[in-house]
Symmetry: C2
Subunit: 364 residues, 2 copies
């Protein structure tokens, strides 16, 4: 089967690029003696989790219990649920996962830790805990001062849980320019404070775990960090290029679409919109775009409805006809993959792999 045989829209992965992306980060982690625990929310495909493990990952990261269940199929020795997971139904399922592999959760409150402890204890399993700290994003994570110590002390006293260290997500660093580098300095101040606090109170932090893809190549410069868990790096996307963490040649993903209308002059409509790409935006409010048209970089994918992609061709050097196929590099591959039942792995124009996105649509 070749790409031409695929119906559109179809999410394509260039396997050569993907393998290069996996090897690059795997090599980096080895070189800097960092544990690599990639976030599988980007692909949600067990076969790719297996490939990450084969290329040196020590375990896998997930956001949801359902993703943990799906990733068990990889035979991973270790699963990090990087999300403060709450609720009896989820915890009942999570302890079942913990019977089959080592499970760790990052969390930021005893309100989350206590029911986790109760569920682990009732099931007779042990679950690792990373204390999530806020290093500047202001999302989840305790202030790495008194609230951190209180959280750690609380977790240490809870049966069924083992405190393993710290986790953080420097998601506020979106661009690795001078400002981004300056942000890392601030992150390091917060990290140094947290580690000093832990040392002063004789708390051992075996793991200090950091996201994310934009900052991946600076992980070794982050104070005390010994684990990285990038997600998007396997495919990369327009956001990753915009962050400076990769070039266009490193984008393994494109979405194959068909031109379905050219009724309006200097415009083409593609058979993919927000139900194919997601509505994730890139650009400032006045110049938002939804993807890069591979065949014509001067084309502007400036608007979408659910099933329509509006592409402005007024600056384009060529025209497109109804029925032509166009590849688009999406803004944010993680949310795009989540919209597709299947993903197609291609080598050149040959479709080598058809993967079911096993974790897609599983919200709990």
């Amino acid at each position: 089967m070749t790409v031409q045989d695929l119906d559109t829209p179809a999410l394509l992965i260039d396997l050569d690029i993907m393998e290069r992306n996996l090897a690059r980060v795997g090599d980096y982690a080895r070189q800097h003696n960092l544990r690599l625990r990639p976030h599988t929310k980007t692909h949600k495909i067990p076969a790719l989790g297996r490939q990450q493990l084969a290329l040196g990952a020590v375990g896998l990261t997930v956001a949801k219990v359902s993703e943990a269940e799906v990733m068990l199929e990889t035979g991973t020795p270790d699963l990090l649920v990087a999300y403060p997971t709450f609720g009896a139904a989820k915890l009942a399922r999570l302890v079942e996962v913990a019977r089959q592999t080592k499970v760790t959760m990052s969390l930021d409150s005893l309100e989350v830790a206590r029911p986790l402890s109760a569920a682990a204890q009732a099931a007779g399993v042990s679950i690792g805990v990373l204390a999530e700290i806020d290093v500047g994003l202001g999302r989840v994570g305790v202030d790495p001062a008194a609230p951190l110590l209180e959280l750690v002390r609380g977790v240490e006293q809870l049966p069924g849980l083992t405190f393993e260290g710290l986790a953080f997500y420097p998601g506020q660093i979106k661009k690795m320019d001078g400002e981004g580098i300056a942000e890392i300095t601030k992150v390091n101040e917060r990290l140094a404070g947290a580690l000093d606090l832990m040392a002063r109170h004789s708390v051992a932090c075996g793991v200090v775990s950091a996201g994310s893809t934009p900052t991946w190549m600076h992980t070794h410069e982050m104070t005390g960090v010994n684990e990285m868990r990038p997600g998007t790096y396997i495919f990369n996307d327009r956001n990753t290029v915009a962050s400076g963490a990769c070039g266009w040649e490193d984008c393994a993903v494109s979405i194959l679409t068909t031109v379905v209308s050219t009724a309006r002059p200097q415009q083409m409509i593609l058979d993919g919109g927000s139900k194919t790409f997601s509505s994730d935006r890139l650009g400032d409010p006045k110049d938002v775009t939804f993807g890069k048209i591979v065949e014509e970089p001067a084309a502007r994918f400036h608007k979408m409805n659910e099933e329509h992609g509006f592409v402005d061709l007024s600056a384009a050097s060529r025209s497109f006809a109804v029925g032509e196929r166009v590849r688009v590099i999406p803004n944010h591959v993680c949310v795009a993959v989540n919209l597709h039942e299947r993903v197609y792995g291609m080598r050149g124009e040959t479709v080598e792999a058809v993967w079911t996105v096993a974790g897609r649509g599983k919200l709990q």
Copy 2:
């Protein structure tokens, strides 16, 4: 089962409100002698398509061949594929659908009509065609002048196809204020021109079909229109309220979430982000929000990541604790439903129906 038994995030539909929404538009259509052919892309659930048919719909509308296949289960006498569908694989499947029920496609080019004709002829089926005209949105649709006549004349000559009339989507009208009403006047000028052209050339237009939900109650004021195909009206959402086409009491949809972190003062993090709600925005760029928090209207759902909803509580009159449940009315229900495997129909707090979103994730 009650709503309290559901794990989060969960997409809830209030059945009393939904039934009222269905009845209201059904009554309107009957009163004004309009054919009602609701767009099922909003729910993608055959049981709801059946309910629409039971309440007076003459047929159903879909955007994709896969949605047509799914909606066959309703036993609908009539399916409108409101999308210029291109490609051999899709057409092979579409003619199979056309063996089981009457199929019509709206399209705007002979490049789309010709392969459709060939597929219909080869399969020995007849497919209806509506000529899509542009009444101001500038998406698909021919200019309702010479290009329309050319399209219609071309379709009339193609075997396997039957020209049935005109279709349009007034999606540029998002708010039914003075400006919106003025827009309808412009739409009517375009419609009158198209119908006059057709009459002068003795082309019979049995069907003149209009979207959409924001304009539904003005359909009878649109020149020559005898069919309406709203979609969102079954559930309504924040966009519909913003358009003025309904009030909050008409929103049947809410997404049940759990507070998973309150680590940052005056903020709560919900267990739903762009993979639960979609990234569809509402508001001007400086004041974008992603949903209305039912329990606290002063809370601002101002930011999201894939699995995190950021809610600013600085103007709120109450606080929220980790583990509390919060309902959120999403901006755009059609793209939100498309992210969920299941939708829960509730009567009061009792869960009366659990529907699988059968058409979800089917992109082709």
